[in-house]
């Protein structure tokens, strides 16, 4: 007994000593990325705590408490994912892709409808929206397919294959209907292809096709009597071009959001905020939370939040270049671009320069699926970073 104890107490001369920080991967995490994500989530909880007090009579903390729980769960998920070597996902690509498509399809069967669209499963404590997690899953699977098929077929065939793989789930989401998220899917697909080395010429063709398609959907098809978009979708997409004309219609929300942000001026109106406190701005805890920040905390608050996103994106891009393998590059690139796209579209929508598409602001907008999925995506980025650092040191963890 004593001998055993004595042996254990003595340090192993040749063993590498691994501390708790290293065990958790903390040492090799990208700290600015973590700080940006946590700061955004904290700011979200803080904002919701002030802005949604009167939303649900009798439970002033309804949204705050839930968002806080989602954030904590998201952080745990991020930490867990960071420890796993993301390269495993490449092997699981078919399974991930299948799960992605099936889960989105199941929403049509079991999902519950909210505001005219079936997007989520109603679970006991929370409604799960597969398409939010789907953004990450699509990147993980598609990056795998790109790496795997890198040497099969001609460049054109490959491009077409990637496009089909990416657009299939995007189409499913579009049919829910959830125009915003399906656009994120398309952008994520293009991002993975971009870092997958698809030639510039192909992007040019894709871009041209896209322009033609938009023209068809918005102008040509309705004029011959084949509406592709629902009326409200089309109105939202086009009304931002001339918000004054729709002061009480589709442009109303956006106009109110612009007024809210403008009225915040440099330092914000705090609790004297009216636009976002008195229901002039709709969906203020989700899609229009940036308007709340703009009105309550002014340019200082809004610019601070934007800076955090810039930091987030900068670190994500950094991880793209650091990745130890191409799969990591593609995954990080897909995640980075889809985050950038969501931030730009959402904030642009709040500022009245982008159409209303129902894309949440990552980590800020209230919503469990979105918060969890974004933290998990950040976790994957961390994993790529950690693996890259370990590879640099010539060591592989687990």
């Amino acid at each position: 007994m004593y001998a055993t104890r004595a042996r254990r107490a003595r340090p192993e001369p040749f063993a590498v000593r691994i501390g708790i920080g290293e065990r958790l991967g903390l040492a090799h995490m990208d700290w600015p990325l973590t700080i940006a994500a946590v700061a955004l989530a904290a700011f979200s909880v803080f904002t919701l705590g002030q802005a949604t007090v009167d939303d649900i009579p009798g439970s002033p903390r309804y949204f705050v408490d839930r968002q806080a729980i989602y954030c904590v769960l998201g952080l745990i998920g991020m930490a867990l994912l960071a420890r796993i070597d993301y390269s495993r996902f490449r092997e699981l690509r078919v399974g991930i892709y299948t799960f992605l498509c099936v889960s989105i399809s199941l929403v049509f069967v079991f999902g519950f409808a909210a505001k005219g669209s079936r997007r989520a499963f109603d679970l006991p404590f929370f409604s799960f929206q597969p398409s939010e997690l789907g953004k990450l899953l699509l990147v993980l699977a598609l990056a795998g397919f790109v790496i795997d098929g890198a040497r099969r077929g001609s460049a054109r065939q490959r491009t077409l294959r990637y496009l089909c793989l990416g657009l299939a789930p995007a189409a499913l989401v579009f049919l829910q209907p959830d125009l915003g998220t399906s656009l994120v899917f398309v952008v994520a697909t293009l991002a993975v292809m971009y870092f997958g080395g698809v030639p510039w010429t192909h992007f040019a063709v894709i871009g041209a096709t896209l322009v033609a398609l938009i023209a068809l959907v918005l102008f040509a098809a309705p004029s011959v009597g084949v509406p592709v978009l629902k009326g409200y979708q089309e109105e939202r997409l086009t009304s931002f071009l001339a918000p004054g004309e729709h002061a009480s219609g589709a442009g109303y929300q956006q106009n109110q959001s612009v007024v809210a942000i403008g009225s915040g001026q440099k330092t914000g109106r705090g609790d004297r905020a009216t636009q976002t406190r008195l229901d002039f701005v709709p969906e203020r805890h989700t899609d229009f939370i940036f308007a709340v920040i703009g009105e309550r905390y002014g340019f200082m608050g809004a610019a601070f939040v934007l800076s955090l996103y810039a930091l987030l994106f900068w670190r994500a891009l950094k991880i793209v270049t650091l990745s130890k393998n191409s799969y990591g590059t593609l995954v990080a690139g897909g995640i980075a671009v889809s985050l950038l796209f969501q931030v730009f579209v959402n904030v642009g929508m709040n500022l009245g320069i982008m159409p209303i598409t129902g894309i949440p602001l990552p980590l800020m907008s209230y919503g469990g699926s979105s918060v969890l999925a974004t933290f998990l995506a950040v976790g994957v980025l961390q994993s790529i970073n950690i693996q890259a650092r370990l590879a640099q040191k010539g060591r592989f963890a687990w």
Partner: protein
């Protein structure tokens, strides 16, 4: 191909990362620039817009002043009632759902969808965004129903409003009038300056005449509202309370008024009465039968109520027969003939005329009523027995001189009286004259020019004469008060809520005319004999009345109808204070219907006078 699964990426990746970085910088740059533009460069404008966004001004309706009779009893006041309001912004977006809700709502308040939509449209034109009042005065059962089924009726709210209340229902209905929403035409009138569509103003009666005193001033509440226009808790920003309207006290004497109304009602025939102070034109009582309950006008009407009030030209309950209907007045007109003849020197007080029951004017024979013959009569006895032949003769004497018409006009017949109740139309009133008929004849409107027979008819108040009880009251007042043409009025004073008198109404007389005192005395004596001397036309009615009076019956023959009964009386004789004119359509002889009604009115008046004097003298009436 730069993709090698476990290799570090090469320079081509660096290019792509650089391009993406550039795009990202551009995108973030756009966002920052836009943010700077909105918040720092144009923040002040947006702040102003946001502040404007959250406040809404609501007009707080001022209650109208009460209308009181001369003793201070309430004729009209207000009660709070519930109005159904619709917040159009909260209606369903979907046109089909909106239509369904409006249809269901319309069914609850008995309005077809078309009318609901029109009401909403009109309300929106007045004040866009403000709640539209769909129906006033809804019942509690409906309110409870709506509250229980709130989900089925989004945007529907119930608001407290003031509604006119009439404690005595039909009491003095034609005098007080009613209220209603201001019309487009009224809005343009200077009298209604500053009012807005939807405001309530008087519609007829003193409600119209004294609207500016009764109306009050609306207050204003500025409250913080949310995007749905709903007030937010604790969000009252500014409040300016409404100033209630002042009270209007009328000259109407409750005892006289109720006596007159019940007397008229007892016949069940159309008719009217007016009782006026001969000295200053204060109207103590004025009524018309059939009457109406103004409450019905204050609340939404059923079609049968509308038909009853507006569509029946015969009973026409809204018409004030005392001042808005025009009739021949029969023998009550004789005092004017008498005055004209005496003042014109056509006859002296004592000169007798032999009444053998009829008179031939040209080829036409004019008879006394019933064909009776009174023998030789002078002025006093001619008035006492109401000899038609005597006055036929006078009329015949004056047929070419316009003397009779001129005196009728001097006494106010055929002229607007200046009564402070709207509805009088001078154009319908007529004293037939040579000029008038010859003009008609030259235009081919009638078959013959002016003739002596026309003036003979006029002399006893028959034929083409068109006048009304109010004009007769003025003429009799002039006789009673020695030549003053008073301005009849029902408005006495304006009081504030504490009862302080703010304004008194004492309109000056229209004019003074000269009447020979001897003629006046003789005519009054004739009337006194008619009422209270044996053989007088209304001796049977007034013979036993303890107060001395001077009264004249009148009976108008209306082809196709029963005779119209008239009575005109001034009292007390010989220095009268009041005049009462009563007419009952198809009531028969003057002494049959109108005189007994006048008696009831005088009884009420003098009974009250005696009680008041008795009280003033320590309760010991001699």
């Amino acid at each position: 191909m730069y993709l090698r699964s476990n290799d570090r990426p090469g320079p081509r990746l660096a290019l792509r990362v650089a391009v993406l970085s550039g795009v990202a910088v551009a995108l973030f740059g756009v966002l920052f620039f836009r943010l700077w533009d909105l918040q720092v460069l144009s923040g002040a404008e947006y702040l102003a817009e946001a502040k404007n966004n959250r406040t809404r001004e609501f007009k707080v309706i001022a209650p109208r002043g009460d209308i009181l009779d001369r003793d201070g009893n309430v004729l009209v006041d207000n009660r709070t009632s519930l109005a159904l309001q619709l917040n159009t912004q909260k209606l369903p977006q979907d046109p089909a759902e909106e239509r369904s809700e409006l249809t269901r709502l319309g069914r609850l308040v008995h309005m077809p969808l078309r009318k609901v939509r029109r009401t909403i449209k009109e309300g929106e034109e007045v004040a866009a965004g403000a709640p539209v009042t769909l129906r006033k005065d809804v019942g509690y059962d409906l309110v409870y129903y709506l509250e229980e089924n709130q989900r089925a009726f989004p945007g529907v709210a119930v608001q407290r409003v003031f509604v006119r209340a009439y404690p005595d229902a039909t009491r003095a209905a034609h005098v007080v009038g009613s209220v209603g929403e201001i019309s487009e035409e009224e809005l343009k009138e200077p009298a209604y300056k500053g009012l807005e569509p939807g405001d309530e103003v008087g519609k007829g009666g003193v409600e119209t005449t004294y609207d500016r005193y009764l109306r009050g001033e609306p207050g204003q509440t500025k409250i913080q509202v949310n995007a749905l226009g709903q007030p937010t808790p604790g969000g009252q920003l500014v409040s300016q309370p409404p100033i209630p309207g002042d009270n209007l006290k009328l000259t109407i004497d409750p005892d006289v008024q109720s006596a007159g109304e019940s007397a008229l009602a007892s016949f069940g025939l159309p008719g009217a009465f007016v009782t006026m102070d001969v000295r200053d034109g204060q109207i103590l009582g004025m009524g018309s039968s059939p009457t109406f309950d103004p409450t019905v006008l204050a609340t939404p009407m059923t079609q049968s109520q509308v038909n009853e009030l507006y569509r029946d030209p015969v009973s026409a309950p809204l018409t004030n027969r005392a001042s808005e209907s025009y009739y021949p007045v029969g023998s009550t007109f004789k005092i004017i003939t008498a005055l004209a003849a005496l003042e014109g020197g056509e006859i002296t007080l004592t000169e007798p005329i032999y009444d053998n029951g009829s008179i031939m004017v040209g080829t036409q024979e004019f008879q006394n009523a019933g064909g009776v013959s009174f023998g030789p009569v002078d002025m006093v006895s001619a008035l006492q027995v109401s000899s038609d032949v005597y006055f036929y003769t006078l009329g015949w004497k004056m047929w070419e001189t316009n003397q009779l018409q001129s005196w009728a006009g001097k006494l106010g017949i055929g002229k607007e009286s200046g009564l402070d109740i709207p509805g009088e139309t001078g154009t319908e009133s007529l004293v037939p004259s040579k000029e008038w008929r010859d003009q008609l004849f030259s235009e081919g409107e009638t078959d013959r020019p002016w003739s002596a027979g026309d003036n003979v008819q006029l002399a006893i108040g028959q034929g083409d004469l068109q006048t009304n009880p109010l004009q007769m009251a003025i003429a009799y007042s002039a006789l009673a008060n020695d030549g003053t043409i008073v301005t009849p009025h029902v408005g006495m004073e304006v009081e504030d809520a504490a009862g302080r008198v703010l304004k008194e109404f004492d309109p000056p007389p229209r004019r003074k005319i000269k009447i020979d005192p001897a003629y006046r005395a003789a005519i009054l004596e004739g009337l006194h004999q008619a009422a209270q001397a044996p053989g007088g036309t209304s001796y049977g009615v007034f013979g036993g009345f303890p107060i001395e009076v001077a009264g004249k019956t009148g009976t108008v023959e209306r082809p196709g109808h029963g005779d119209q009964s008239w009575y005109a009386v001034v009292a007390p004789y010989p220095n009268p204070r009041i005049v009462t004119i009563v007419t009952v359509e198809e009531g028969g002889f003057g002494a049959e219907a109108a005189a007994p009604a006048a008696l009831q009115i005088l009884e009420a008046y003098f009974h009250k006078q005696a009680t008041e004097t008795g009280a003033a003298n320590g309760g010991s009436p001699g």
